[in-house]
Symmetry: C2
Subunit: 316 residues, 2 copies
């Protein structure tokens, strides 16, 4: 049995996030290897000196033999298939994931009987690019990494997952799955939806409008450049939470439309939006100290701290 610190990492899916994680972990001194569904992706990783193959079975047997931390880094639609293989070949390993939504992953993990050693994760990092070619060992530097503190979380497994996130350069926000999913609907999935709608509105103005477009349009549509399948794989599994905030936003925009029509005024929308942006700009992370995994009320305490903007920057 290896020590938690030096336990190897087995990454399943070496696209932008999984591949960057494998590189960041290697740079931090972890022994690591991976699996990738596409031969071309695995080949690209091997060309950069990483041990990545298309052989899921062998990859997982090695994880089981070495007590590796397994990281599921495939899009949501592929999660079920990967969990089936884990349940067959490495059911005893500590398990985390970097999927953009947490409740559906947790439900699938439970359905596959893998809940005991599972701790959900979601690094808030990415670009409009995808695939091994876009990977970067520094992708998680100073990023926020959401890590589950749901009821029943196993303290040792949790510590291993948190340590990996910290070693990749991130800070950790402790959050339960349902709250994570509601939060990311607001700050990740809604931005995708609005960016797609804005891009469509601009292009409907033809060459003239696109030719006049400057910074506000470029920034506001940036994530519409993300591959469509990836955007759908990120947003659609979070439909319920996304629907709620999309309805809310339709009401806000509908009121702005009414006010613009009746009084040529955007006063309320602009005041609210500007206050909100200032609140975002001035939000300061604070460090959650004295984290004691397994101590009395540790999960409740971490949940409360995460809700108030606290982050974990080190483990004792």
């Amino acid at each position: 049995m290896t020590s938690a610190k030096n336990a190897p990492v087995c990454v399943l899916g070496t696209g932008l996030i999984g591949g960057s994680l494998l590189r960041a972990a290697a740079a931090a001194g972890y022994d690591g290897w991976g699996y990738n569904r596409s031969a071309a992706g695995a080949q690209a990783a091997r060309a950069d000196g990483f041990d990545v193959t298309e052989d899921l079975t062998t990859t997982l047997r090695r994880a089981a033999e070495t007590d590796a931390l397994i990281v599921v880094a495939v899009p949501m639609p592929a999660v079920g298939h990967i969990l089936s293989a884990i349940a067959t070949f490495a059911p005893g390993c500590t398990l985390t994931d970097v999927v953009s939504v947490k409740e559906p992953v947790a439900a699938a993990v439970h359905a596959h009987g893998l809940a005991d050693r599972y701790v959900g994760g979601h690094p808030m990092a990415g670009t409009a690019e995808s695939g091994w070619a876009a990977t970067d060992p520094e992708l998680f530097r100073d990023a926020v990494w959401a890590i589950g503190v749901d009821e029943g979380t196993h303290a040792e497994s949790w510590s291993r997952v948190v340590r990996l996130a910290l070693d990749c350069g991130a800070v950790v926000v402790p959050v339960v799955a349902a709250e994570h999913d509601r939060a990311v609907a607001r700050i990740s999935h809604l931005p995708h939806v609005l960016a797609e709608a804005l891009a469509a509105a601009g292009a409907a103005g033809g060459e003239l409008a696109l030719g006049l477009a400057a910074g506000s349009f470029r920034d506001g549509t940036r994530v519409a450049g993300t591959a469509p399948d990836l955007v759908r794989a990120i947003c659609e599994p979070n439909s319920a939470a996304l629907l709620e905030v999309l309805e809310e936003t339709l009401r806000v925009l509908g009121s702005a439309r009414d006010s613009l029509r009746a009084e040529q005024s955007l006063a309320d929308l602009v005041a609210t939006g500007h206050d909100a942006r200032k609140r975002y700009e001035s939000a300061r992370r604070w460090e959650i100290t004295d984290v004691r995994p397994g101590a009395s009320n540790w999960l409740e305490d971490l949940r409360a701290a995460g809700k108030r903007g606290g982050v974990i920057t080190r483990l004792g």
Copy 2:
């Protein structure tokens, strides 16, 4: 009478756009001076060595005496006051503006009897900052500058305005006022509206949501950091065109909501948005050559070229 090339420039309003224009023109060898309503703003400009005062009358008398090109660079709500003064003290000068909307300015110019030598303009540049402190002589470098080619445009005045824009480092898109206003509703004013709504949705998620926010939220809300009065002064005078595209966007988002609810699918929205963004990314400016102000059909030819994405990069 000075030659067009060396004719001085009189800038009314030395905030971000007007102040940057004064600096860029000076750097390009123009003699220039300005007026600013606030004493603090004028003082800041003078501290940087620019001839800017709060005395509108004297500023305009000097423009009349030197046949200067007058640039109106105040927000739309202040345009009427400025035009009254021009009509009184410098009615014969060539006149342009850098206001974000063109039909309301043109209407005000007509109402003040100043239409003969007026050529509307709008440099597509800016930041979330404002005031003299934010000015930058390089603000217009490689930016697009929309310049009017409306019926009745005076060829010599038009050439002077185009030359100023080119000398500031911009390329020129020829466009009539109504089409300009419809285009900027799509690529400038709607981005502001959506950014405000997105910021509000994020902040409604509290510290947790704001703490998890990463690139997509930061970029999508950037322009919500602009001063509320400035956003309103930019968007509200273009209410009619903005309403049209806001209605269109509400329909697009409403369809996405329906599809998400019924089928957990964002397929249509994401496909449309991604195509649109790719079209924007791949749009290439092409140079309108052989521009002959005053020649037969010159305005029609320039209008047609502008619609197809053409830009003017030099004058013969």
